[in-house]
């Protein structure tokens, strides 16, 4: 039976590992903290102003040489050539920001060259409090794309994305738990693997996510969640609560 994936998301500013809060850099760490053997998958996001720097490409290379799990890489991908550089340096998949949906033929071109399985479409959402509805945000969460998350996801998948990663920007770094309402709303309408990001503060939040929705993977970027024994203990907790995870 397929296992639920526990995925680590690492954000880098000028080659330095940061935790983010509401999409802004917060605490800094070192990559040596990461326990490379317990994780199921790794996502590396570049939040630097200057993208595709030598620094960042070397980081992808470092992880590719040291942990034999899938590595997805994102941050500022606007052309097929941008994606080419990331794949060449060790990425197995690319993560496209929500704004990439407006780049003509970008998803189509990447999926034609590398396959649907090589694209994770990030769906960065925000709740509009006036009408209590969700909207998708582009440009690192600053620009309202005026699209609802379900239609947005269906469109991305039809164009060639393989997986959807849902994030509520307001939950990013909050440690208050995932936005289950949003995640459920999207996952019920979509027939592809879905990952959720944003808000994991403890193992119970992961359990809530994996037991109350039928998504494929839980992402966390809280450093305390993946140092030393912690992924191991998270998996034990999930297993004890009847969630199928990899040993």
């Amino acid at each position: 039976m397929i296992k639920k994936r526990i995925i680590i998301t690492l954000t880098f500013l000028n080659g330095v590992l940061f935790r983010t809060k509401n999409f802004k850099p917060d605490y800094r760490y070192t990559k040596n903290f990461v326990d490379l053997w317990s994780i199921d998958e790794l996502i590396l996001i570049d939040i630097s102003e200057k993208k595709f720097s030598k620094n960042f490409l070397e980081l992808i290379n470092f992880f590719s040489r040291n942990c034999f799990v899938p590595i997805s890489v994102g941050g500022g991908i606007a052309t097929l050539e941008n994606a080419d550089i990331l794949f060449k340096n060790g990425a197995d998949k690319v993560v496209l920001g929500s704004g990439a949906i407006n780049k003509k033929d970008l998803i189509e071109k990447i999926s034609k060259k590398y396959g649907n399985q090589s694209i994770i479409q990030s769906v960065d959402c925000k709740k509009i409090h006036k009408n209590n509805r969700y909207t998708v945000m582009g440009s690192s969460g600053t620009e309202n794309l005026l699209q609802n998350p379900i239609e947005f996801s269906i469109n991305a998948l039809a164009r060639g994305a393989g997986e959807i990663m849902i994030n509520n920007i307001d939950n990013d770094g909050s440690l208050m738990g995932y936005d289950l309402k949003l995640i459920k709303m999207v996952s019920e309408k979509i027939n592809s693997p879905i990952l959720a990001l944003g808000g994991a503060g403890n193992w119970q939040h992961m359990l809530d996510l994996l037991s109350k929705t039928d998504i494929s993977g839980a992402c966390t970027q809280n450093i305390f969640h993946f140092t030393e024994e912690s992924i191991f203990s998270a998996k034990k907790f999930l297993k004890d609560n009847n969630i199928k995870v990899r040993n």
Binding site: I2, F68, P70
Partner: protein, 204 residues
Amino acid sequence: MKLGVIDLNTGNLASLLSALDRLNLKYVICRNDLDFEGVDKIILPGVGAFKDFMKKISDKKFDKILIDKVKKNTSILGVCVGFQILFSSSNEHGDYKGLELLKGNFVNFKDKDINIKVPHVGWNECDIINKNQLFHGIKNNSDFYFTHSYYLKDYNIENVVSQTKYKLDFVSAINKENIYGVQFHPEKSQSNGLQILKNFYERC
């Protein structure tokens, strides 16, 4: 023994090479026909669509080389789409012929059940049906990393090494004589995956 890794310039060869480096296994990269000189063991990694992958192979005339090498007893390990093209055909984006070294056709999981989530992405168990050197030292039902949307039908059951459950049981590893193939990515499956590559190098 000389191991050749085929490079068709599709996607990420880097992770497979990292895995071989980690195991201290020596290899040459095969980018054109001259590179196959003296090669007597081959890994054929593959990503992307069946049709595009097969076209790249035939454009470079690697299809003839591979079929010829296999006849002359060179062991080959196909990975993911490299596994799929060892077989007769796939209906991905039409109906396309593979290398036809093994009998079987690939169809989409959605042809079986429209509600199955595709691609099948993630860690899943390999249930070993027939004991094989490829899985030497690997516990039954160990997890490997998969990412694919098509599964094998109309195959010879006696060639099946392992199967995996994703709503239905599909073939995840195969072996007939010197032909080996795995649907999962050994280079992305940590210790178990590294062991598969080591086994192929040392035992197959």
